[in-house]
Amino acid sequence: MNSAVKECERVNEQISAIVLKRPPRRGWLFGFGISFCFLMVLNLAIGCLFLKGVGIWGINIPVGWAFDITNFVWWIGIGHAGTFISAILLLLHQDWRTSINRFAEAMTIFAVACAGMFPLIHLGRPQVFYWILPYPNTMDLWPQWRSPLVWDVFAVFTYLTVSIVFWYLGLIPDLATLRDRARPLWLRRLFGVFALGWRNSIKHWKRYETAYLLLAGLATPLVISVHSVVSFDFAVSLIPGWHSTIFPPYFVAGAIFSGFAMVLTLIIPVRKFYRLENLITDTHLDNSAKVMLATGLLVAFGYLNEIFTAWYSDEEFDAYLTLNRMLGYYAWVYWLMMACNVGVPQLLWFRKLRRDPTSLFVISLLINLGMWAERFVIIVTSLHRDFLPSSWGIFRPTIWDWATLMGSLGLFFTLIFVFIRLLPMISISEVRRAATEKRP
């Protein structure tokens, strides 16, 4: 039998098996159970929040934002890897992306979903969140377009929508494959509904690929813009430590940095668990690690640049802030950030480590931690000592701050587990093609 067909068959079988095989494996059930418990913690935390008010957190005047917006920025950042991989790497003809882009996209969507939750629940009066949206109302009032928060709403919404579209488009041919391979009729029909009757017509493929390319072209500036807009939340303010022109680029770099870290954190165990080493090879890990190294260096440059400007501008407030970050009450968070985001990535210079899943896993975890610390440093240390010493204050997280953070992780992993079980986590059609092309 011809090898092209064999290649395709092999790929189809291996990937779709993960979805179609039942009952689910014990390991999956276990992981899903744990994340679901954390999801319930989130539910509890939000319930208490709505009953009592944001005062259950440790926030105060001057520190009006703390864990809430830190989590928001952190999650949004993580949400950047997906689109980066599927869009930018596509335009750059990085074929190795094919076997991880689906997973990364899914991760993006879930991360952005987690992120999007925080601007809503951090409101003092969440029941009127929709006042941020422009709709004709009986008050004749509109949003205040100069506010970066409004920009955020549009940026995040756009990003979420485009990511979902991109992801779903990619799924259509695979859904068709699943439709054809699934056993019970109801399941085939279910997949069939979402496959929209895709029938592998070459004309469809043609338009499909054009659309995919166009979306990639649109998503590329988008992915840059989203975190720039998020950084505007801080950059357009006048608080020392926020009021900084370098924020957009260095936020974007940081975002991709943390995004890839999270991709690795997830993909390394998954590929082990489902024995996907042949599809997600060490080269994939290696390349991702290289991207992390590069973006990590950009982030490091951002840090140095901040310190430099503080010294060079001779702004007493900025100078004080910088010193306060290094030596003040939250110094240990600052140095944790430095260690994880500047120190640890340097290990990635070594090829051995880049190709060793275990060490790479540990590194990626540390980087995730470091990036959370970065956002905390930017938000809290800048706020807790700004212009008037009389109103300087300290932020102390309460149990509810932690519960909300942990809960958002619960939400994220629950979604990831559901995704792994229900949809092909690797793009069947793309891998199919790649496999056929490099067949003997």
């Binding site: 259950i56 003092g124 009066r125 941020i132 009032l141």
Partner: protein, 966 residues
């Protein structure tokens, strides 16, 4: 832990006899459930922890998060009731407030007030401009009085042995006793009263003592030294003022007048006065001083002698180096100088200082001495009384307007003695510690509920008129006095009025009386000083009483809870103490050097051991304290103050002895190593080298008047990408003169009263969530031994380029056409972004539901013209927009524009020093625009190009050139 409601707890109290009931309450007060219940019951101590998670509660929580939030938007408005009068009062216009003159009495002395009343509810107290002790200003106690009126914890019924009883039952009991007293002229009868200057009441007291000639009269005012001869300074006439531990700008019955007149002489220029302050504990007066010398009390006592020696040209090496130049300055200004003696100095020193004033020829010019009418009758021989009560030679006691069980010196077993007395009556606003120990307790009336009169510090007769029917079944002291004269039924109005009818004995009494009630003062009633009573001859130099080593203890009244009588007043409890910015508790203050020498740390809990008694107190290391002494404030550690005030801080009375009421040498401090977490509104004490409070010497100011504007770089209005916004019509602005501001922080509490600002409680302040719209920042500058102490009131700056506005996503904060930075609560969704981006951090956020919706009386207090803010909403200073709108409506209805000075924000109106001026900066003739053209005028953080509408006038010191090097 299962949640307890107060009712549960009350059920658990054995319904046994009274004495036992109190006991069990006390025990309960210390159980955790009780505190927990209290905290849940009263938002004052609101905590955000969810209650124990019972299954049901858990489900609620889970459900709440799943509930769709948006639904609230299209809920149907509930139908509101509209309840008109049955018979509408004559002069009342619904929706328009009325103002009535009355008086507020503290320690017996009256300060005139104007009370604002909405449909019969007094809501706000302002100063009475026509009253010499107020001049239109108020102090914190006057402002807080309104909250006290509505305090739900006020005693509401007559109590007999702790059980509810009636006035008639008391009269019946009294009748029996009286006959017995009448037999022996009241040999076994005693009266203990607070300071009383009320002519009518004193008249009745005289008649009572005529009826019971052998009865003892004792005046008990724990917070003031009744032995000090009273002095009437005319501060505005003095070019040089030397204060020996006298906090004359911020303490005492004449304080408002002093602050006002002092500020008038503070204008930088040739007439600017110079203030020397020698004191042990940094006071607000000390903060105003051009030269401030910290000194232990025992050294201050010896200072007058040294001064007089210096004046006589005698050289004494013991004198501090700064003394000779100081004395030279005094002599240069002989006749327009003034030496003021602290209330707590011993007689010898008082007398010495009086002689000095005479020698300088100040008497009659800068200082006069009031007639005897003002000094109190009786001595405060509480010790003697207690022993008599114990021995049984006294078996009937009346305790009027005082709380000796709590306030008596620790070496007097007053409670024990009181329990021995067969007929003891307590008459007061609260069923307090003393009420508990008495057989009878009679609820007093609040000053806003009854008729009365009192004398001001200068003897002006002030009328007290009620604003509202008694909320509870209070009994006027006049009625009680009448009862002791067998006159009942009686009512306070008739008693007071008939007394004055007798005094004035004028056929035109009616009009005189009406005038007096209308003005709040009896016209021309100021007691002109008679020939000053001769001073005692100079005593021989006394040896330094503090020859021995060891620390010195200072016991002083608390700046905000006074002697403890205001402990249950949330506004005063949450008002930051002027020097430390502590709230809701007191601390033991100590000098940095001393603390270091003793190896003690800030916020460490220590045992203060004095004369064999010991209390545990947290230590506060206070720059500018005199070395080798520790100061503690009275008024805390109360057990029965009420829900708000009980169990806060430590009780300094336990260190107080009858012979040393203000402390003395021989204190021992023992470290415990335990640390305490203070609730304070300002955690950082220096300006970190930033030009926030700008100041200069008079000489430097003469050379470069614009020094304040040379700091930093303020961008020109056209240095911006956008065209500037123009304001035609009114443009509101405020100027704050740091040179006049004493930092008394009455502006803060006045604002709280005017703008329905909630009290959030100790825990929330610790989390940094205080709600005050205008705060008074306090900075130390220079050495920790002798720092400059700078005060700076900070309201919203109403920046023209407001950073807060551009970041609000829903335009809940924006500018109106008169340049106000308005905060629209009902549009706010609570992102807190505006506060983050506010360089001045003047915005306040309702992190939890801070407003008390449950207590009906507190609702009565609220200002109907200010929105009550809900949870999750940002708020801030509005320049009292309700007052602006009120003035605008009047002006428009009369087809004219608003006059300068027609709008006075609450802070400005209360300020004794007239440091805050508000007005239209587009009108070149308005006071505020004149001040803004003053060379001292500068904008706080103006280099950020926020273009603040609130600006400051730099502070000017007038130091003695001779003292530069010292």
């Amino acid at each position: 832990m299962t949640p307890h409601s107060l009712t549960d707890l009350q059920k658990r109290i054995p319904a046994a006899r009274g004495a036992l009931l109190w006991k069990s309450l006390d025990q309960l007060a210390n159980t955790p459930e009780f505190r927990e219940a209290i905290e849940r019951e009263f938002p004052v101590a609101a905590d955000e922890w969810p209650d124990a998670l019972s299954r049901r509660r858990f489900l609620i929580l889970m459900g709440a998060s799943l509930a769709a939030a948006g639904l609230t938007s299209c809920s149907r408005q509930p139908i509101e009731k509209l309840v008109p009068y049955v018979k509408q009062p004559e002069d009342l216009v619904p929706g328009k407030p009325l103002h009535f003159a009355s008086s507020n009495v503290l320690g017996g002395f009256a300060r005139g007030v104007l009370v604002e009343s909405h449909e019969g509810r007094p809501t706000k107290i302002e100063g009475n401009p026509g009253h010499p002790a107020s001049l239109g200003a108020t102090d914190v106690f006057m402002q807080a009085a309104i909250l006290q009126l509505y305090d739900p914890d006020r005693s509401q019924t007559v109590l007999h042995r702790g059980f509810a009883s009636t006035w008639d039952a008391f009269l019946a009991a009294l009748l029996q006793e009286e006959n017995e007293w009448a037999r022996d002229g009241g040999t076994r009868l005693a009266f203990v009263t607070g300071g009383v200057t009320s002519p009518s009441l004193r008249y009745h007291f005289r008649r009572i003592s005529e009826r019971f000639p052998n009865a003892r009269w004792i005046v008990h005012e724990p917070a003031c030294n009744l032995e000090t001869p009273r002095v009437l300074p005319s501060v505005d006439r003095a070019g040089v003022v030397l204060s020996l531990d006298a906090d004359f700008l911020a303490w005492g019955p004449g304080m408002l007048t002093n602050a006002r007149t002092f500020a008038r002489r503070r204008e930088p220029g040739n007439t600017m006065n110079r203030l020397y302050v020698v004191e042990s504990v940094p006071s607000l007066t000390g903060a105003m001083a051009d030269h401030r010398f910290p000194m232990t009390p025992s050294d201050i006592v010896r200072l007058p002698e040294q001064i007089s020696a210096e004046m006589r040209g005698a050289t004494n090496p013991a004198a501090p180096p700064w003394l000779p130049p100081l004395v030279r300055d005094l002599r240069k200004h002989a006749g327009d100088s003034l030496i003021l003696a602290g209330e707590f100095l011993p007689d010898s020193a008082q007398n010495e200082i009086r002689l000095l004033n005479e020698e300088l020829g100040n008497v009659g010019r800068t200082v006069t001495y009031p007639t005897e009418a003002l000094t109190f009758p009786g001595t405060h021989a509480l010790t003697e009384l207690a022993s008599q009560m114990l021995s049984g030679s006294i078996n009937a006691v009346f305790l009027l307007d005082c709380n000796p069980v709590y306030t008596a010196p620790a070496d007097i077993p007053f409670a024990e003695a009181l329990r021995k007395v067969s007929f003891s009556v307590h008459h007061g606003l609260y069923a307090d510690e003393t009420a508990e120990a008495c057989r009878w307790h009679l609820p007093d009336l609040h000053a806003l509920e009854n008729w009365g009169d009192a004398l001001a510090f200068d003897g002006t007769i002030s009328i007290i008129q009620p604003l509202i029917e008694p909320l509870y079944n209070g009994i006027s002291p006049h009625v009680l006095a009448a009862a002791l004269l067998k006159q009942w039924p009686a009512n306070d109005y008739d008693i007071v009025r008939s007394y004055w009818r007798g005094i004035l004995a004028n056929d035109d009494f009616e009009s005189l009386w009406r005038q007096a009630v209308h003005d709040g003062v009896m016209a021309g009633s100021v007691s002109t000083p008679a020939a000053p009573p001769p001073a005692a001859p100079r005593a021989p130099p006394s040896p330094n009483p503090n020859a021995g080593s060891g620390l010195e203890l200072l016991i002083r009244p608390d700046p905000h809870v006074y002697d403890g009588r205001f402990a249950n007043n949330g506004w005063l409890q949450e008002l930051p103490k002027p020097m430390t910015k502590i709230v809701w508790e007191n601390a033991a203050h100590i000098a940095p050097a001393t603390a270091e020498r003793l190896g003690l740390h800030h916020a460490e809990e220590v045992d203060l051991i004095y004369r064999g008694r010991s209390i545990r107190a947290p230590l506060w290391v206070l720059p500018g304290m005199a070395e080798n002494c520790v100061e503690v404030a009275l008024g805390y550690g109360r057990t029965r103050a009420g829900k708000v005030g009980s169990g806060l801080g430590f009780n300094s009375y336990q260190l107080r002895t009858a012979d040393a009421p203000w402390g003395g040498p021989g204190l021992e401090v023992r470290a415990t190593g335990r640390m305490h977490r203070f609730a304070t509104t300002q955690e950082h004490n220096t300006m970190a080298g930033r030009d926030l409070v700008r100041f200069a010497d008079l000489t430097m100011y003469r050379e470069t008047p614009h020094f304040a504007q040379q700091h930093g770089h303020t961008p020109a209005p056209d240095q911006t990408l956008y065209p500037p916004f123009t304001y035609d019509g009114n443009a509101w602005g405020m100027a704050i003169d740091l040179n006049a501001c004493t930092g008394c922080s009455v502006c803060t509490i006045a604002c709280q009263a005017e703008n329905n600002i909630p009290v959030v409680g100790r825990d929330q302040v610790q989390r940094g969530r205080e709600m005050h719209w205008i705060r008074v920042d306090r900075y130390f500058r220079g050495t920790v031994e002798r720092p400059d102490i700078l005060h700076q009131p900070v309201p919203c700056m109403h920046c023209e380029n407001a950073p807060c506005e551009t970041v609000c996503p829903v335009a809940a904060t924006l500018h109106d056409h008169e340049g106000l930075n308005v905060m629209v609560y009902n549009r706010c969704i609570g992102t807190r972004y505006c506060s983050n981006n506010c360089p001045y951090k003047v915005r306040r956020f309702n992190f939890l539901s801070y407003v008390d919706h449950s207590t009906p009386t507190l609702k009565l207090q609220r200002n109907p013209n200010v929105t009550v803010r809900s949870r999750g909403v940002m708020e801030k200073c509005t320049y009292c927009i309700q007052r602006i709108n009120f003035a605008r409506m009047n002006a428009r209805n009369q087809n004219r524009s608003i006059r300068d000075g027609e709008i006075i924000p609450a802070c400005a109106q209360a300020c004794p020093a007239e440091a805050i001026v508000f007005g239209n900066i587009n009108d070149p003739d308005s006071r505020v625009s004149k001040l803004r053209t003053d060379p001292r005028n500068y904008g706080l953080l103006a280099e950020l190009n926020t273009r603040p509408r609130t600006t400051y006038l730099a502070k000017i010191f007038n130091p003695n050139p001779e003292l530069k090097n010292v």
